[in-house]
Symmetry: C2
Subunit: 248 residues, 2 copies
């Protein structure tokens, strides 16, 4: 590593640990460090960035809090598997109106997932199809055994997104399906059969490489979900329910 | 506040500060605290959550790192304005292939922003149009004065997204436009006129409430950008350039 590799970091506005975190981030990016790589020691980082080891420790804590670094017990500090990816990245949990949030997400799903399904049909590899088939089957097993299938349902939609070969599409699905788990206790019983039939139709269309059919099947599946959600939320609001957190 | 409001937090798997952070998050959600609200004192939180003040301090640090809380100098710790929203929420900065990332984001923009523009035309209020017009004019001034317009360009697209009245769409735009600033030094000079003309056409279509025209104008604008980006990245790759960080 070059000495004086980094600009002197004490000149900028944010706090010293914050600036140190930024410099460590830069190091990770510029040195192409991955989750295979251990972070250089506190001592090395302190030398390199011209700050004390206490400051390094605070900077590292910030990056752990942000999922850029992770502490592996007995092994030390490593780069996280998907550095910088956080659960609930848009802070949906803090939205005051979870009803409106759910409806708005359903609207976005209706506009997004159909083209994702089309693109999936156009670009899926044999390996992708195999994984998608497995994922579809896991959801069916959940439903047939009357388990909550919401987590695996999201994973099925992520598996479709992976078929597109686009790096970012699979990362967007967990964001726009955030509300799936929120209302599952109310929608689930009425969605069981539709989910099995809908998912199979989407799977077969993608497997056949039929983009148009995949797009149409997905549009129907999402619209069915959206309409049911709207009906349920309409009733809840009518009954004066104010906050899903208090209801479920 | 009720005593024993929270489940005892020392029983779960993650670290104590992590669990404390979760409990403070819950408190914020359940009490509907907003950026107007000061966080209860360390002392109060320690009493309520049955942990020491040092642990509260660590938990608060985690939530500050995640933009859930913010420290206002001389005032204390408050709820952040958009709690839980982080810059670069998907960790794009850490993607090893920034070229592919930029192309994949351009693909997503091409599939997304046209329907956003249509929905904007269908739902914009007079106030939205006024803000959009101002935003459009700021980008034009940047271009005419040969300043980097990339930040304000993103804000123009966010202003369009706000016209949809969907809570989440404006939050997705900064994610999918991440790459706009990355290649701006290379695309900018060739995009100046197209940007002015394209933006104005989109603005007028939305202002007229013409969804179809807005959708078409946006599709053209994004496709022009995408094609140019592809051409530039193709050349860079051909020249053996390996990493935008080393190039610019």
């Amino acid at each position: 590593m070059k000495e004086n590799y980094f600009e002197t970091i004490k000149t900028r506005e944010s706090s010293l640990p914050e600036r140190t975190a930024e410099q460590i981030s830069k190091l990770i990016v510029e040195q192409h460090l991955t989750s295979e790589d251990k972070l250089p020691s506190e001592f090395e980082l302190a030398e390199l960035l011209h700050v004390g080891r206490g400051t390094i420790r605070e900077g590292v804590k910030l990056l752990v809090a942000r999922n850029v670094l992770e502490i592996r017990r007995g092994k030390g500090t490593y780069i996280a598997p998907n550095p910088g990816e956080v659960p609930d990245p848009l802070g949906f949990a803090y939205y005051p109106d979870q009803f409106q949030l759910a409806l708005d997400l359903a609207e976005i799903r209706g506009q997004t997932e159909p083209w994702v399904a089309r693109m999936a049909a156009e670009h899926a590899t044999a390996e992708d199809i195999k994984r998608l088939r497995e994922s579809c089957s896991i959801v069916e097993q959940d439903i047939l055994n009357e388990r909550d299938h919401s987590q695996n349902d999201v994973l099925f939609h992520v598996a479709i997104a992976k078929c597109t070969q686009n790096l970012v599409v699979p990362k967007l699905i967990p964001i726009i399906t955030y509300a799936v788990t929120l209302f599952v206790s109310l929608t689930e019983s009425r969605l069981r059969m539709e989910t099995i039939v809908g998912h199979r139709e989407i799977l077969e269309a993608i497997s056949d490489g039929d983009g148009q059919r995949a797009e149409k099947a997905m549009a129907q599946h999402i619209e069915y979900n959206r309409a049911l959600l709207q009906e349920i939320i309409g009733k809840l609001k009518h009954d004066g329910a104010k906050n899903p957190n208090n209801i479920f």
